[in-house]
Symmetry: none
Subunit: 213 residues, 4 copies
């Protein structure tokens, strides 16, 4: 491994270290109450160091979502490309992909949903903004293509597939935020999962073409 490679790897490691610290602080203090100093302390770094790896606070926040978005895109892409799946199975795969996303890192998913709901994106560099947008776009695109297939086969309601994708995502992120808002009230875990199951059951049934009996 060359020197350059190691440097790049070290750099990425530090970024991940900072991101990991951010998550921990977010969890304990809440996103809006977390300061750069808090994160620096948690990461056992100085505030200045954070600015070597992230252009500013908003970019740090936004960067937290990149990984998750990449994962999301990859998962949906995989579902889309898997052969020999019925449309039912495909919807089910989407459900499992989103479940998995949530299980890997619920906090980051909340953060991603927050991002969508805040004005953070308006304060980041065009490059990062474009990256986030592109990843979101591609994920929705993958989702919409799954619906397109089903529509073409006559299995799904003939509705704008992109809108179907948006509806599914809204339902998912809406539930994630809902759970987050309930966190302080009710610390029972595993609340999201059963509700998501029901949500997907309904969505899956509803998107199917044919009159319900």
């Amino acid at each position: 491994m060359g020197i350059q490679t190691r440097q790049l790897r070290d750099r990425e490691r530090r970024r991940q270290q900072i991101i990991a610290a951010s998550k921990r602080v977010f969890t304990s203090k809440g996103v809006s109450r977390t300061t750069i100093k808090d994160i620096a302390d948690e990461a056992e770094l100085s505030p200045g160091t954070l600015y070597i790896y992230f252009k500013n606070k908003d970019e740090l926040y936004a960067s937290l979502s990149i990984r998750m978005l990449k994962h999301l895109h990859l998962s949906l892409q995989r579902v889309k490309e898997t052969k020999d799946l019925s449309d039912d199975q495909r919807i089910d795969s989407v459900k499992r992909a989103l479940f998995e996303l949530y299980e890997i890192d619920p906090l980051m998913l909340i953060n991603l949903s927050h991002l969508q709901a805040s004005e953070t994106l308006e304060n980041i560099s065009p490059e990062l903004y474009e990256q986030i947008l592109e990843l979101s776009r591609r994920s929705l695109q993958a989702l919409s293509e799954i619906f397109t297939k089903g529509i073409e086969l006559g299995n799904f309601l003939n509705r704008n597939p992109m809108q179907l994708a948006v509806v599914l995502w809204a339902m998912f992120s809406g539930l994630v935020l809902w759970e987050e808002s309930k966190r302080s009230l009710d610390t029972r875990k595993n609340f999201l999962k059963p509700t998501l199951e029901i949500a997907f059951e309904i969505f899956g049934r509803g998107v199917k073409s044919g009159k319900p009996v």
Copy 2:
């Protein structure tokens, strides 16, 4: 009308005047970039005066949603209590109630969804917190009772009606936030409406019992 009554009425008027000013500023500057001073200027009052009517900034923000929550609760209550409606019609009425909510004041609905997604509620007085919670609870309760009816009649899937209510609300608020996040990208209006139509179509079909054909 007694003096006290008039005083209360005046007080309420001022509150509404401040709330109205807040809305206007939020619309033009965005929520996170709006300061108390901005609102005071817009209301042609001094910052100090705002603190006579609202305990602090978060309470002001939270108060914005009270009216909307009351309206929401009332609408859903009405749907629940209307006699001689089929379950299909009832779902349709819920849809129209939420549409109406959005049309009356899209910004406040966004604010309500934000509220749910932010940490604002953690900084308000227990009284206001309880009020908001109670109104939310009641709205969801009304919604869940609508589902209970349908389930009892065998028209709806036999799932936990409160969870069904949460799913429906999550879908709705998720779409509202989604639209908000797209506002800077795409200024086309009336984007939410058609997507909500599809969302409700799918939900309505999905929640119906019976195998899809």
Copy 3:
């Protein structure tokens, strides 16, 4: 006196209070080492208050010079308009005007010269910038008109009067900065005065038309 008048007067008083505090701190710590906090402490105000009266640090610094520039302009205007003065007497009046300027407030004059020599002006509001520029322009204009008279009467060298004005001002401000730079070395006061006397003597003799004997 109306309420508004008093408010305006109070506002101006506060500004002068802050400016006075700035001067004291500048004298003891040096301009470049003075922070907003230092000035606030000296003025027995909070840092935030300074920002009510001055848009930012650079504007505060630049504002220090406004008064001096106004005084300068007025003095030169007066010299220009005084009747029945020989050109020798007029040059002498200019000398006395600049002497006086220095004696009123040497520190502010140094500050004015610094301003010219720094990049502070690049960071202030266009309005203040224009005000400073306009006052400078007018002062130089007045000076140049004094020279124009002398040239027309054949008493002064026929050179571009604006350039003559610039030369005189450069000589003056150059000496002021020179003295400032010597302050740490040599605390003897009254060093500038005799040197300025010589400078004006030479300038006065040099600008006169006619071959020196």
Copy 4:
């Protein structure tokens, strides 16, 4: 050439390389907006390396002037020592020496004038401080000796020659700073030259003894 000599030469080379880079950055970004990192980048060195060659930022800034001061001193010394020159010719030679200084490197001359006008000198090592002071002193000394000659011959006004030297230098540096402050307003070049011509013409005429006709 011994090893030590080469090492010294290499060291000096590096210093000059860094100084050259500083100049380029100052020109493009302005002195106050230039950071050590900027200079390091421009010099294709690391920030740490700069600290091997310069004790701190102020020393780097101050060092920029050393060369110019040496050149200035040399030039004035030469003028002083040149035989068979009339006093008029000697003043003219001083003018040409300063012109030349400006033409070689206007930016460094500005920097030298800034140095005099700032508090940089208060933060440097006593050695460097002494060196700069000594060079300044010697230059002024040379200048004053030129005046002494003229005074002794009865050609110049019998004034303190050191003060005459200071007046001449103040006029010169005042004009240099004046031009610098006009740079952003008026990009016409060659503005300084004609004004300096007039300045020297006036100084030359003014310093001459004898009543003007």
